[in-house]
Symmetry: C2
Subunit: 370 residues, 2 copies
């Protein structure tokens, strides 16, 4: 991959007094400090990162912050989903206290979705909330988890059961960080990009179908376009419904079964994007039976995940299938015991809050996730 300097794109997230912008482009990490200075942030800054990303980019970001007059220090957690835990939250709190972080200090989340969700939750709750900036370094985090203010950690009982809504002050998406992203993680990130096509943008879906080879070769022009368009869609949805009382739920397409699979497999077996690839295909199959998704569009949805090398199904033993249903019922998208799905009417148009009966799901589970 050749590194090309693109014009930086600014995607606004309109949320009244909590509005912020997403900066997308090449060569942005070394500018983190000056971006933060523009926000009137001051003083001490905790860079929360992980053992994989910290050695690559920690010093670039810390140096840029020092250059802009900040006083940064680095908190490193182990790489991987297991750091999205109360244990890691407590470790971060203790380090913030040891460094005497104050209410006007801030946190930078430097890493993938795990780091962003963890650091964001710490920022939401330390001193009852301090500012934070997202610097996502994976495709998944750039197109999804860094935008919208959902932060949190897992319990043994389920994913994201503990959390808050805490909007960042800024999101910095440096496309150059994809240069160090393993191919498996890169593919997993594309799973969320495909989701935006299914839930909201038919032409994005077509682009992804037509340009799979170039995307997988990480064409910088295409990636810039995909990240920007994904962020635009997420920003629009979040602006309309910040705390998910209504339309924001469409972002959960494929996530009910996806989260269930992650929970029963033990966190870390599936990457999030892989689990929701299977979940999106299952949701599309339910859609074909319940909300009139046409057969040829279902085939296109099945095909696109395959063409990006993402898993399209899984065989589960009986006891695992029961555990999957139980995990889905513990998910937050459950109300009074009825499981609510986001289902597609066509590619580019979905409806949230569609009730699906547990018995109906149980009977068809094999064919939905096979």
């Amino acid at each position: 991959m050749t590194s090309i300097l693109f014009q930086m794109v600014n995607v606004p997230v309109a949320l009244g007094s909590r509005s912020y912008s997403i900066k997308i482009g090449s060569g942005l990490l070394p500018q983190t400090g000056s971006f933060c200075a523009e926000l009137n942030l001051v003083g001490k800054c905790a860079i929360v990162t992980d053992s994989a990303v910290g050695p690559l980019y920690g010093e670039v970001v810390a140096g840029s912050l020092r250059g802009a007059g900040f006083d940064p220090f680095i908190i490193t957690v182990p790489a991987g989903e297991s750091s999205k835990s109360l244990k890691s939250v407590e470790d971060c709190y203790n380090q913030l206290a040891a460094h005497r972080v104050e209410r006007k200090s801030f946190i930078i989340a430097l890493g993938g979705g795990v780091v962003g969700d963890l650091a964001g939750f710490v920022a939401a709750t330390y001193l009852r909330g301090i500012p934070f900036v997202q610097v996502p370094t994976t495709l998944l985090a750039q197109v999804d988890s860094s935008v919208g203010g959902k932060v949190g950690v897992n319990l043994m009982a389920g994913k994201n059961l503990v959390g808050a809504f805490h909007q960042p002050q800024l999101v910095v998406c440096d496309l150059d960080t994809f240069g160090t992203l393993p191919q498996r993680e890169f593919r997993a990130g594309l799973s969320e990009v495909i989701k935006y096509g299914i839930i909201h943008d038919r032409s994005l879906f077509s682009l992804l179908e037509n340009e799979a080879a170039a995307v997988l070769e990480r064409s910088p022009e295409l990636l810039a376009k995909l990240v920007a368009r994904s962020c635009e869609i997420k920003a629009e949805v979040v602006s309309r419904d910040e705390t998910e009382t209504s339309v924001r739920a469409i972002l959960n397409f494929g996530h009910t079964i996806g989260h269930g699979l992650e929970a029963i497999s033990g966190y870390g077996v599936y990457l999030h994007g892989e689990a929701i690839a299977i979940g999106q295909i299952a949701a599309a199959r339910i859609s074909a039976l319940k909300t009139g998704l046409k057969e040829n569009e279902l085939k296109r949805i099945e095909a696109i995940f395959a063409s990006y090398g993402l898993p399209t199904g899984v065989r589960l033993k009986e006891d695992k299938k029961e555990k999957l249903l139980a995990a889905m019922k513990l998910d937050k998208k459950v109300s009074s015991g009825v499981i609510k799905f986001v289902l597609a009417k066509s590619i580019g148009e979905v409806e949230y809050g569609q009730p699906v009966e547990e018995a109906w799901l149980s009977e068809r589970m094999d064919s939905l996730i096979a």
Copy 2:
């Protein structure tokens, strides 16, 4: 103490879509269920209580909830400040998950300030926030911690370092619960009532001076008046500044040194109300030197805490004094290393955000807290 049925008083807390009311009166615990039903709460309800309060009132509240069609269960934590910890938070999360608490379920905090702060923080963060109801059973909790939405827990490094703003849907203050309140806790609660007099209500202060004997004998009429007036003042201040960006800070009168004392003594040595009695006297002494509090009013402030049997000073060794200053600097009321105090101009009128230099404090610490 004779139990008299008073007309129930409703104190509104005006916070837009997060407005709620504080119900104050006798015989309210058995009505908890019907109050909750009026709020359109439904389904499962976790009653968080402690090992001292649970055996006294847990079943009354649970029965009232069942009678109103709810499905309650009880989570009991050990009595005492040590339960305001991340460990207790995690225990609560795990029990909520085991009982499959959903977004539309709710939490009732039944107990004193520790239970309210803990249960409120759990409610603020479980599933990114679920509704909760405060049922405070101590004077301190009724007049202070149950109102205003500040929730949180302690770290080893300091008190309330972790938390959130999460308003309850309702506060139920049953004055009958004072019947089982130990005298030491009762006196400690009066420390916050005296605070309302100093910061906002000269006539409340005079009433407390004149009626000390009757108050300490727990005159039901007087207590009803004191709780209602305290809640009114707190509600007014919180309505003007929910997240403490300005005037809400006046509620911290006496708390900078008070929290510091609690931190260096080990939680549980001082009751909160005792520590802030010493803190308020120290703040009044600083006020006499810095903001023109008259000598006779300083004497009245010193005298009132003594007349309620509250501690008025403490002798600390040199190393403890240094630790106290260090703990004060870690407090949330610090900005860029300068310690900000709430100081009195006269009884009934205070000013927040008054900077006091560390060296100045250090020189006079003996005389301030003696």
